[in-house]
Amino acid sequence: MPPAIVAEGLVKKYGDVVALDGMDLSVPAGTVFGLLGPNGSGKTTTVRILTTLLKPDAGRATVAGFDVVADAHRLRSRIGASGQYAAVDDHLTGAENLEMVGRLYHLGTRRSKERARELLERFDLTTAADRPVKGYSGGMRRRLDLAGALVAGPPVLFLDEPTTGLDPRARAALWDVIAELVAGGTTLLLTTQYMEEADRLAHRIAVVDHGRVIALGTADELKDQVGGDRIELTMASPADLETARRALAPLAVGDLRTDTTAMRVTVPVTNGAASLTTALTGLAAEHVTVRDAGLRRPTLDDVFLTLTGREATEKIKEHSR
């Protein structure tokens, strides 16, 4: 089976700003692919090219076998897309919004109405179905926008930061819907700033920075590449912090970080629980007082720091819109 999404050397410039600088992707049909990166890394631009909203300056891409430029119209009937900003009409009700999208996919009036009701139920919007969207909360609007992307049951789906701005319950519900969709054979390209989300949903993850892929693999592969788990220990005094830094250095698989304000040491380790025990035993032997100790999974910041040597949050020029 050929890949559902292929991008080869995509380049996009806005004046002097290079949004995409040779983006390559290949997403097998029926899998979930995560594009992980900070704002301005080119995630949104990639999605906008793949969903025919933008034309690339160079390179080529196909989705469901159709070229994004030459076959844009036929491609559009095979995709669903939901962006960062809810593209819903304020003056229309939730049901009217989805019915309109159904008609524009040419599903016919009856099918459009049925489909709208199904999706409103699935996204827990039944009670608000006949109210104008103007009165919806931010989370409700996002859900409605996502429902809009699913109206035609497209084989390839693009979700640009789908859970940004959702409460934990809605986020969990959405993750379930996405898992269900993928079980039904839908190919999904998802962008996110959260390692946790990519971890939970994506089969494969591409870390993007400055408009190109800088790392590619499964969530576990990426985490191993950045040193698996993190031990975080908070000390009682600056002297203890210094002692701890020296004592823990042999455990670290990458750069050990100290935060002097918070008096915290962050140590990348391979075997989380065992390393934490070793660390605490070692510190006790050195008579260091530990205020707080914890084990956590790597965050996007950790992946970024390891791969690029700088924090993801100290961003790169904003040019996604």
């Binding site: 034309k55 559009r76 524009l104």
Partner: protein, 267 residues
């Protein structure tokens, strides 16, 4: 579904959407009804008390001018609404759908015809109330209303193109006011263009707004019987020239606005 069927079906879907929006925002419809009433009363009594058109009443003379002024102002709703939609991101949704690319503009301009029909009915009633009369044959009067609505429809496409080029509702509003005021007032709407000084006279006589106003006057019989109209060629052949203008505007601005729509959402 072939391309034409798709344009019609999608155009109807967007028209229905806009009709729902009009229904849910009565303030916009209110403006379409109240503005012409204000125009008719203000111009009829303020200008009417100062300006003398020999041989006929000023009310009879100026109502066709008010008709055209109102549809020019009304057509700006098209541009303004498009600029608002552009800002809200709904066009991104439309552009990822397998719909006809011209349907959004066709739907918008079509629903604005409904607004214009409302405005014209109101103005006709108010005009009749202050003494304006149709003196022509019924088929001429019907052609008068059709020519007016056709011009309004064509002008909606002009404002659509301008709004999509400018992109922001506020900038569009400013530009629309700056352009539409001279267009309306440098014409024969309220004064006899033949009596304007040199260059103003030439501008007013060749202004398409003057042409359509003159056509309206002839089609409603609001002219002085037996008196020929002085002025440039378009005024001499006003009905034909005004239809020609409307068609010409559509031929230029329909493809232009469609191109701008495709480009303006591609950021």
């Amino acid at each position: 579904m072939n391309a034409l069927q798709m344009v019609i079906a999608d155009g109807m879907t967007i028209t229905r959407r806009n009709a729902l929006k009009i229904k849910r925002t009565p303030d916009q419809l209110g403006a379409v009804i109240i503005l012409p009433i204000v125009f008719v009363l203000l111009f009829a009594y303020v200008f009417g008390s100062m300006i003398d058109i020999p041989g006929m009443s000023y009310q009879e003379y100026m109502i066709p001018g008010i008709f055209v002024q109102s549809v020019i102002m009304g057509a700006q709703i098209t541009g303004y609404t498009l600029a608002l939609d552009l800002r809200k991101g709904i066009f991104d949704r439309f552009r990822t759908l397998p719909m006809s690319p011209s349907a959004v503009l066709i739907g918008q301009t079509t629903s604005d015809v409904l607004m214009n029909v409302t405005g014209v009915v109101v103005m006709t009633l108010v005009g009749l109330g202050i003494g304006w009369r149709i003196h022509s044959a019924p088929h001429e009067a019907v052609l008068g209303f059709v020519a007016l609505l056709l011009f309004a429809y064509a002008f909606s496409w002009v404002t659509a193109a301008v709004a999509l080029a400018l992109r922001t509702p506020e900038v569009f509003n400013n530009v629309a006011t700056i352009v539409s005021l001279p267009l309306v007032f440098l014409s024969n709407a309220y004064v006899d263009s033949a009596r304007l000084p040199g260059p103003l006279k030439a501008l007013a006589e060749w202004n398409p707004v003057s042409t359509i106003i003159q056509a309206e006057r002839e089609l409603f019989g609001n002219t002085i019987p037996g008196k020929s109209v002085p002025g440039a060629w378009p005024l001499q052949h006003a009905v034909a020239a005004s239809l020609l203008w409307s068609v010409l505007i559509l031929v230029v601005f329909v493809p232009l606005a469609t191109r701008l729509y495709k480009r303006s959402v591609s950021r």
